[in-house]
């Protein structure tokens, strides 16, 4: 099936004239109709818009215009990115029906690359969660097992890839929301260096941690998408004013001979599913076979990362979400004064997890508690950044399992916030330090036959290293498995 191909394969077919973008888009829209009733990855499918875009690209190609490598290829967009005139809900009732009057910079760049945006994918409300169960609309299902979570907060994007509803997706990662879903769905996802991709139009959850990033089924596809969306944006004061690292070249190179790979002592052991650890170690062996040197490093402050994250992120979010007050856009519920309407709207419009984090954040910033909580967390951040700096003096990349377990059942952890938060224990340090990270499939865990992820981390603006190591490992494992891991997933068909 055409939808099973990689984005690069599709691009080649488009270039050869073997398929038009309109047909390719239609094939994906059909696939969505067939299976999304079961997967529930999409909140909004833009049939007309996507086909119109595809037509435009086909016309450009016919006229002989030079097109980007991703031109005409379809993509799914996480619903926290603004797209002009298209419903953007952030998985919340607060923004039900809101159509932004402006495009995020990521969308602007995707348009210049002539990528076809199929629609908006489901996520945990305002990107807060690790399972997509916090979406105010419905939970998304993991295509590997529809009774299980697809990860979060970007479960919709990862599920759309794993179910072949889209070959490319955009996610956002604040504490692991791209990488952990990639791990539990057997796909590839990258959190770029903080500031590498513009946040203009990314509805803010935690401003100093959020990053939009590329997702796909192969490392090379992710590389092309990464290059398409990265770069300095004058509309984002935190965006890095430096050239995009040579990411596609690194993905094509994939030669890890002589590279030093650091295994983080603190990110394994207790709490990690044995099958997941086994796959991690097997992946290390593959890299060693390819000529990389495996070294153990200790990042002793990583033990405090989860605690620091669950102070910083809620604090920033309590401030970022204050704008949702029923006055200028979004939900308005209740009678009485402006204050009363604000209170009732925020009560009705926000879900449990969001409210929990807003209250926690309000507390951590309040007078008398700032130093002990938010202030202290920002200091831990310094210590963790130093851990990374010290480690990167000794090694080229750091590695760990992406998440401690494979996909759990829907409902299994939703009543235990701390258990839920532990899903991000390996991914959070990356966000705190602002460095980059990738997750790619390490295999299927022997306990349950479900995918696990291998996480690679590199220093700020060294994103290309992720792709070098990722490509090498992917190639070795694909050879070992006789094909991509998604080939082993249950075949989803229309019911």
């Amino acid at each position: 099936m055409i939808v099973n191909k990689s984005a690069m394969e599709m691009s080649q077919l488009l270039n050869n004239g073997e398929i038009s973008s309109v047909d390719l888009t239609r094939a994906h829209l059909d696939r969505i109709s067939e299976v999304d009733g079961q997967v529930k990855a999409f909140l909004f499918v833009d049939h007309d818009g996507a086909l119109a875009q595809a037509e435009l690209v086909d016309a450009k190609r016919r006229s002989g215009e030079n097109l980007s490598p991703l031109a005409g290829v379809p993509l799914a967009l996480k619903d926290v990115m603004t797209q002009r005139g298209i419903p953007t809900t952030c998985g919340s009732k607060m923004l039900e029906g809101w159509r932004p009057p402006y495009d995020s910079t990521v969308v602007t760049k995707l348009r210049s690359a002539d990528v076809v945006i199929l629609g908006k994918t489901n996520c945990d409300e305002f990107a807060m969660g690790s399972s997509t169960e916090n979406s105010a609309y419905f939970p998304t299902r993991n295509p590997w097992d529809l009774t299980r979570i697809p990860g979060g907060s970007g479960g919709g994007s990862s599920a759309s890839l794993a179910s072949y509803e889209a070959p490319l997706a955009i996610g956002t990662d604040t504490g692991g929301s791209i990488r952990q879903p990639a791990a539990v769905t057997g796909t590839v996802g990258v959190k770029p260096t903080y500031g590498g991709v513009s946040r203009y139009g990314l509805v803010a959850f935690s401003s100093s941690l959020d990053q939009a990033g590329p997702c796909a089924r192969t490392v090379l596809d992710v590389a092309y998408l990464h290059e398409a969306i990265a770069g300095h944006d004058p509309l984002d004061s935190t965006s890095i004013n430096a050239p995009v690292p040579p990411i596609v070249a690194a993905a094509k190179d994939g030669n890890v001979k002589g590279m030093k790979i650091g295994v983080i002592k603190e990110l394994q052991g207790d709490g990690y599913q044995p099958g997941v650890l086994k796959l991690f170690n097997q992946s290390l062996e593959e890299l060693a076979k390819l000529g990389a040197e495996i070294v153990e490093v200790s990042c002793k402050y990583f033990d405090y990362a989860l605690a620091a994250y669950y102070l910083i992120a809620p604090s920033e979010c309590s401030s970022n979400l204050a704008r949702f007050d029923a006055m200028r856009y979004g939900l308005r519920i209740g009678e009485g004064s402006a204050e009363e309407v604000m209170n009732s709207t925020r009560s009705a419009g926000f879900g449990k997890e969001v409210k929990r984090r807003i209250i926690l954040g309000t507390y951590a910033l309040s007078s008398g508690y700032y130093d002990a909580y938010y202030g202290s967390a920002q200091k831990v951040r310094t210590l963790i950044s130093q851990d990374f700096k010290d480690a990167f003096e000794k090694v080229d990349v750091l590695v760990s399992p992406t998440a401690p377990t494979t996909a759990f059942k829907i409902g299994e952890k939703s009543n235990d916030p701390i258990a839920m938060y532990l899903n991000d224990i390996a991914t959070i340090p990356t966000n705190l330090a602002g460095v980059c990270g990738m997750s790619l499939p390490s295999g299927l865990a022997e306990e349950d036959g479900l995918p696990a992820g291998f996480q690679i981390m590199a220093g700020a603006m060294k994103d290309d290293r992720l792709y070098k190591v990722g490509a090498a490992l992917e190639s070795a494992l694909t050879k070992k498995w006789g094909g991509g891991i998604l080939g082993k997933a249950p075949k989803l068909v229309a019911k």
Binding site: V203, E316, S319, R328, A338
Partner: protein, 500 residues
């Protein structure tokens, strides 16, 4: 019996604090490229950033930084080598993000001073007002309160929000507590705001129009028993929209505090609203439960680290300090302190200077602006600068007087006409047919007519009783509809009657 100001001062010592907000005259807003033009149609100068739409991000206007540093330097502040923006979190419908991007514990300028002079019966008294900080923030949207009485918030049914003003760069200037001013505290407050305004105008960083809101003043006052060191409870007064209101509000608040304290009651820490029409304040929001603003460093913006070179470049391009300029003008015009103070109080100094610049005689220029024009301004309860008469108009009028084409009396009619909006001096002269009658023959005719009508008076004058000529002069003036030059009439009349 009502407490008098004098009584108050025998028991209590006033302490003053001023918070002045200045809207900077940049082309674009603090964090986005929207226009800052005043008076545009509602919500036509907004964008995702200043509307605080989900996903929007701020980017700092470099001119706003430059202007703020210039203000800090003009106020003798230290410029921080490292400063940051911070979020001040609170909810209000005129604030799109429900936090204000401002500065907290790392302001860009701090620890400066401002020297002012206040007129007293014993001459000019100097004060040095210490400046705590000068920092940057963003303005809010504007609300129209509908359905209730007189557009005030109390009793309104609903409100309408216009966000054109949201995001306009604001600079906040905060003084340290001002003590030791004794009874002069209202005058000191006024002089401080006036001097700040002049400095800001000279810097060219704002049009500082209090009536348009580009310069806003909050006055904080408190009283403490004489001899005590601890400050009394203070109140903050807002809606102080003119220099005169600053003085009145401060005096009114001191009396209110004094009356409460004398009666053994306590002053509530609160925000009060000043009313122009009554000259008094009413209670606003109680600040006893101060809202916790949960300040934290703004994660969407990078710190500001102005280099020494950048700061020096701004310092070297600062214009002449208003106080230096005033000294220079005073020397050039050879004007005593009292008259300088009068011009400053009447807010006509710049107008006089502009008139002199055009070539008019300084003494005559001063005379007109301080005299007739200031009087008419007071009558209309506006400042001289708000009247339609310009320095050029005054220059023309003075020139015409010097050329003998206008008498002082006729000139007053012209001034009145310009102020009434009838046009420029030449237009008034033409439309009202104002003309000095100095033609001797025409005058002679009128003089002879007057003598013929009052022969006894004429006899008196012939007999050496000169003062009696006044009645005849009056008649001639009436006959010529006031257009004769009175001095000339007197001269001719006396000559006619053999006395000159």
């Amino acid at each position: 019996m009502a407490l008098t100001y004098e009584d108050l001062l025998t028991k209590y010592e006033p302490v003053l604090g001023l918070e002045v907000h200045v809207e900077l005259g940049t082309k674009s807003k603090m964090f986005c490229g929207c226009s800052t033009n005043f008076g545009a149609e509602p919500n036509t100068q907004t964008c995702p950033v200043c509307l605080g739409l989900p996903g929007s991000l701020p980017v700092v206007n470099e001119k706003a930084i430059e202007y703020t540093i210039a203000i800090g330097l003009a106020l003798n502040c230290s410029i921080a080598p490292y400063s940051r923006f911070a979020r001040k979190n609170y909810f209000y419908p005129d604030m799109p993000k429900n936090f204000q991007t401002s500065q907290y514990d790392e302001p860009i300028c701090s620890n400066g001073f401002l020297d002012i002079s206040v007129e007293t019966e014993d001459g000019m008294q100097d004060f040095r007002i210490e400046i705590e900080r000068v920092h940057m923030e963003e303005d809010t949207g504007k609300s129209l309160h509908m359905g209730g009485a007189k557009g005030r918030i109390h009793g309104a049914d609903y409100s309408l929000l216009d966000y054109n003003r949201a995001g306009i760069p604001l600079v906040e200037i905060v003084t340290k507590p001002v003590e030791g001013t004794g009874k002069l505290v209202p005058e000191v407050a006024r002089a401080c705001v006036a001097e700040l305004r002049d400095i800001l105008r000279a810097l060219g960083v704002s049009d500082v129009k209090m009536e348009q809101g580009s310069l806003r003043c909050d006055a904080n006052v408190s009283l403490r028993p004489i001899g005590e060191s601890k400050f009394g409870t203070r109140s903050e007064t807002k809606n102080v929209n003119s220099l005169r209101s600053v003085e009145r509000a401060v005096r009114s608040e001191l009396l209110r505090h004094g009356s409460l304290l004398i009666d053994g009651k306590r002053v509530i820490q609160e925000t009060r609203h000043f009313h122009e029409n009554t000259g008094e304040t009413t209670s606003g929001r109680s600040k006893e439960q101060a809202e916790d603003y949960r300040y934290f460093p703004e994660p969407d913006l990078a710190p500001i680290t102005p280099s020494k070179e950048f700061i020096e470049k701004i310092r070297s391009s600062l214009p002449e300090k208003p106080s230096i300029r005033r000294k220079r003008l005073q020397e050039n015009w050879r004007v005593p302190d009292k008259e300088m103070a009068a011009m400053i109080n009447a807010d006509v100094l710049d107008l006089v200077a502009a008139t002199v610049e055009l070539g008019a005689d300084p003494t005559r220029s001063r005379g007109w602006w301080l005299g007739e024009i200031a009087r008419l301004a007071n009558e209309r309860e506006v400042s001289a600068g708000e009247l339609p008469i310009t320095p050029r108009d005054v220059f023309e009028i003075v020139s015409l007087i010097e050329a003998g084409e206008l008498t002082d009396k006729l000139a007053r009619q012209v001034v009145e006409g310009v102020i009434n909006g009838e046009g420029r001096p030449k237009d008034i002269i033409e439309s009202r047919g104002i003309k000095v009658v100095s033609d001797d023959s025409a005058l002679s005719a009128a003089i002879e007519k007057a003598i013929a009508a009052q022969p006894e008076v004429a006899e008196k004058v012939r007999g050496g009783h000169i003062p009696a000529a006044g009645a005849l002069i009056g008649t001639v003036m009436k006959e010529t509809r006031g257009q004769a030059d009175a001095a000339k009439v007197r001269e001719l009349l006396l000559r006619h009657l053999g006395q000159g």
